[in-house]
Symmetry: C2
Subunit: 139 residues, 2 copies
Amino acid sequence: MQEKVAQLLKKNQMSVTASRTKILELFLASQGALAHADIERLTNGFDRVTIYRTLQTFVDKGLVHTIPTADNSVRYALCKDECSQGHHHDDHVHFMCDDCGNTYCLDHIHVPAVHLPQGFVVKQTDVVVSGICSNCTLR
Amino acid sequence: MQEKVAQLLKKNQMSVTASRTKILELFLASQGALAHADIERLTNGFDRVTIYRTLQTFVDKGLVHTIPTADNSVRYALCKDECSQGHHHDDHVHFMCDDCGNTYCLDHIHVPAVHLPQGFVVKQTDVVVSGICSNCTLR
DNA sequence: CTGGCTTTGCAACCAAGTTGCAAAGGTTTT
DNA sequence: AAAACCTTTGCAACTTGGTTGCAAAGCCAG
C-alpha cells in the first residue's frame, strides 16, 4: 500500500514525502471528499500550512480536484485517471449530504448540457445536488 | 424611486433605514449579483458589519438569495416575487463570466432534473455555468 | 555520502465573517 | 410632537480560513 502510494506520487512527478504519502492514503481510503479540516483532524503533527501546500500541489498535478459546494466550503476529491497535470475533466455531478455532511463525486452521472441564450459561451458547468445520501436513507 | 424602495422594505416587514434603502437601491440598479465587497465599494460610510447584517436580513426576509459560485465566494441577487420569508424558490441557472467577473441569474433557464442512484434523496440542485457572458462576447 | 533543489514548520500576516454592547435611529402610542 | 420602546448601527475585539517569507530539514540524483 505504502509502495503503491509512492508509485502514484512519482508517476505524477512529485517527490515522496511523509505528508504527501499520508494525505494521499487518506484520499484513497475515503469514500467521499475531504476538506482541509478533515485532513488536519485525521493526521497528526503536520502543519496547517503543509496541508494547504500539499493539497495545492495535488491539484496542480492533476491528482485531485476541488469540489464546488453549496455552502462555500472547499473540498477535495481524487481525480479519475483522465485528469492530468493542469487539465481536469471534472464533468460529473457532485452530491452533498445534508445529514452526514459528506460530499461525493457521482462519477458516472454526467452534467447535463445547459442551453443558454445567444451570446453566452459556456466553458464549464458545475452541478451540485444536495439532499440525503444512500448511506443516510438506510438508517 | 426612494419611495418605491421604502414600500418594498415595508412590504417585507423591515423598518426603513438608510443602509437598507441604499443597499436595496443598488440591487435594483444592478444587472447581476453583488458581493459584500461590491456593496462596500459602492456605498460609503456604512460599516462592514452593517452591510453583513443587512444582507443577512434581506436573505432571511426572502428579498435576496445567495448564489453558489465556482470560486467559493458569496454573492447575492434579488429574488423574484415567488420567494418569500424563509422560502426561496431558487431553481434557475446561474452564470459567472470569466471575463468581467459578473454573476447573473438566468431566471428563465431552469435547472434540469438530475437522476441519481437509488437511495439518494434530492433536496436541491444548483447549476453554475461559467464562461463568457453576452456583454463580453460583443467586445 | 555529498551537494543541490524541494519541502517543511514556524511566525507573522491578511481577508472574511461574527459577536457583544452602548449609542443612535425608527416606530408606535398618546 | 414627545415619550417610550424596540430595532438597528458602529465600534472594537475576536475567530476562522488561508497566504507568505524564511531558515532548517528532507529528498534524491550523481
